[in-house]
Symmetry: C2
Subunit: 431 residues, 2 copies
């Protein structure tokens, strides 16, 4: 018997939903009086006053200065409480471990970054280090008076989100690594507050939250993708591997087993070079970092030095192309065309509102975007789709861990009653 | 300022939502007593009784025989009223005009099919004929005592769903044809009840509604995609052109301008043959009907005769392959491999729970599926995704118009108050 997912309208937890609505309204509109919140949220003033008291008790919001304008007595402004609740995004990549803690306003409360040769470490050892990074970051949040809503770990490759297991991450040389369990065992954070997800999915989440902000708006606030004004987005993360994060109808597309977005392994040239996955002609053999280095550098070129960090290699490439170095210019042209050929396939299939180039593609966006646009113009059927904007990821190499922090915060944004009621709230003066 | 789409929980129209919930419950579970409906829907018995009275007045349900089993007095069964409310799906293709009317139980109430050389007609003339088909179908629905919820027209190509305009349909030789306006002007049906959509999108909708039904269930009922148990589906429609309909997270993926699913124009071989769109190497040049005929038939072969209908040509091909004709076997192998190569790209990107082969692919599924599976197994990264089931569309060439009828019914399923209150309800005896 098919399971009807629909629920009766009166069983939806209206109080929880209304608390969530107020938080999202404050994220989008900034500080506001209770009267203004009532208008924005379509609730009565009495209801808003009760809900705000609850959010204050949970230290999610605070009462600030007087609201300006309007008739009658000025009301106090309700505002998100900085640093009070944080989500921590962690990431593991071939060359580093990283962490960022974001609060409800989108501000960075803590940040960690460690250069590590992760494939050379045993997974257990890497997870020891990741747990230490997580605990140091959580301690910093606690030191600032904050509560950690949860941890989300970004990794490359195939992730089983339900179990928190990395099934296969070729660039890490990981197979069947139970990341969530390992972190729960090594930290004081419960398994229900730990998640693991594909780095391109989380990058898409971060960039999608950003895409919903109008240009004149405050910095991107962590939020539900559903509130974005861009409902369909294709995020591509360029590294040794190439990953995709797809947003359709305002939601991340995970697919049946959570393995959507493996666009780096689209087979575009069966006679092409071998890929790390063992197949031939995968898209990432044409547009991954190795293809770039191969095209841009002679065998003795210093940018081939694997000890050089990716940022430094990219800086050398940028300075060469600025100086008009022919080999580098031709290499970026070649990579850009191959990137555009794959993007055109995905744009014909998905018609996103934006293509967001992340990872190293973002760092070289200025030179890649033109050949990408040319290929799209010649290969995409619908004229509007053929001119889909191709933008650089705002958060560059930071996008995946930032998306992880958003995902961790989202639990509390969706259900503010998860935040504990503070003992000190009754005695605390407004800021 | 970003527009927050979230609404307060108490403004969601609970009565309308609960009427819709009861209808969907009856669609999924079949006839039930009011007491059973209350349990299934999670509503009080008093509320259910009120709601059922409303649905009876709108002729959407009727009270039938006594419910079996349970303690106490048996209650009357509430059941969907056959033929009372119908959605009409129309389709325009290169070789025909068609229509089907479905009621809330999924039963066919009326059907029309006219062979026509549509590209040879002026669009105005074709729309005259389509309007006549729509009116004859609506008259049949009215004759059976039914009310027409709306009309949805399926066409190939790029459709602007908001305006009901076919932007470009190369196989019809249509460009900028205002189909919805034309039908409203030619029939008694208001513009608010007429929709136009891409045929592969509507085919995906029909097959998705079917995918949600367990095998032992009654025939597929028209329903919201959200109630399906298959949330991610890739539907491919094989014809002269090849279209895709994508369902992700239980919703049709339309993309930013509604042009998602143009998978027939994925450029897979830049040195390949020219496509009707003017580009080279589009997937449909490898797997469309013309590629099949080219591979399977010598120049003087009778199956090349364009006067032969597609069903007849397919029957000849099926009989030849059953007889072991080498050229036909090799042709299906070639088409299947090319189909699999493109499917593998989409499966890496989207990880659907099912790939549904529609149109002529469905008619030749038995011979195409093996080469498709072989290509998927060798080209898809995640092992679970590499073995994604590849099934024949249940509705074959009927899927698009059936999806159109579902779409038209969905307005009323989502908001049962759109159905008029009948004057005769008070005097009518239970069936």
């Amino acid at each position: 018997m098919a399971n009807t997912r629909a629920r009766p309208a009166d069983a939806a937890g209206p109080r929880r939903a209304n608390l969530a609505l107020l938080l999202r309204t404050l994220q989008h509109h900034g500080p506001a009086s209770r009267a203004r919140l009532a208008v924005l949220a379509g609730l009565s003033k009495a209801t808003v006053s009760q809900l705000v008291a609850d959010l204050v008790a949970r230290r999610l919001v605070r009462l600030g200065g007087a609201a300006a304008g309007g008739a009658g007595r000025p009301g106090q402004l309700v505002e998100l409480r900085p640093a009070a609740v944080c989500g921590i995004g962690l990431d593991i990549a071939a060359d580093h471990l990283g962490a960022v803690a974001l609060d409800l306003t989108g501000a960075v409360v803590a940040r960690r970054w460690l250069a590590r040769d992760v494939p050379a470490l045993a997974p257990d050892r890497a997870l020891d280090e990741l747990a230490a990074v997580a605990e140091a970051t959580a301690a910093e949040v606690a030191g600032a008076g904050g509560w950690v809503a949860g941890l989300t770990v970004a990794t490359p490759g195939l992730v089983d989100v339900d179990s928190g297991v990395v099934r296969l991450a070729a660039t890490l040389r990981w197979r069947e690594v139970a990341v969530a369990d390992a972190l729960a065992a090594r930290t004081g954070v419960g398994l229900d507050r730990i998640a693991v997800d594909n780095d391109a999915n989380l990058g898409a989440l971060a960039e999608h939250a950003r895409a919903g902000q109008s240009p004149d708006h405050r910095p991107a606030a962590p939020d539900r993708p559903e509130t974005s004004t861009v409902d369909d987005l294709l995020y591509l993360s360029g590294g040794v591997g190439v990953g995709g994060g797809l947003v359709a109808n305002g939601e991340l597309v995970r697919g049946a087993f959570g393995f959507a977005g493996e666009v780096g392994h689209m087979s575009l040239d069966p006679m092409g070079p071998y890929c790390s996955c063992g197949r031939r002609g995968c898209w990432e053999t044409q547009v991954g970092v190795r293809a770039l280095v191969h095209a841009a550098a002679m065998p003795d070129d210093p940018i081939r030095d694997p000890l050089l960090g990716v940022e430094q290699r990219l800086e050398v490439i940028r300075s060469r192309v600025r100086a008009g170095d022919r080999r580098t210019v031709a290499a970026l042209q070649q990579i850009g065309s191959a990137l555009g050929a794959g993007v055109a396939i995905l744009v014909n299939a998905l018609n996103p509102a934006q293509v967001v180039l992340g990872g190293y593609f973002a760092a070289l966006h200025d030179w890649l975007v033109e050949p990408v646009r040319i290929e799209m113009a010649s290969r995409v059927l619908a004229p509007e789709a053929a001119s889909t904007p191709v933008v650089a990821a705002r958060f560059g190499f930071d996008a995946a861990r930032r998306g992880g922090a958003y995902a961790a915060l989202r639990r509390v944004v969706d259900d503010p009653t998860l935040a504990p009621v503070s003992a000190e709230q009754a005695t605390e003066a407004p800021a």
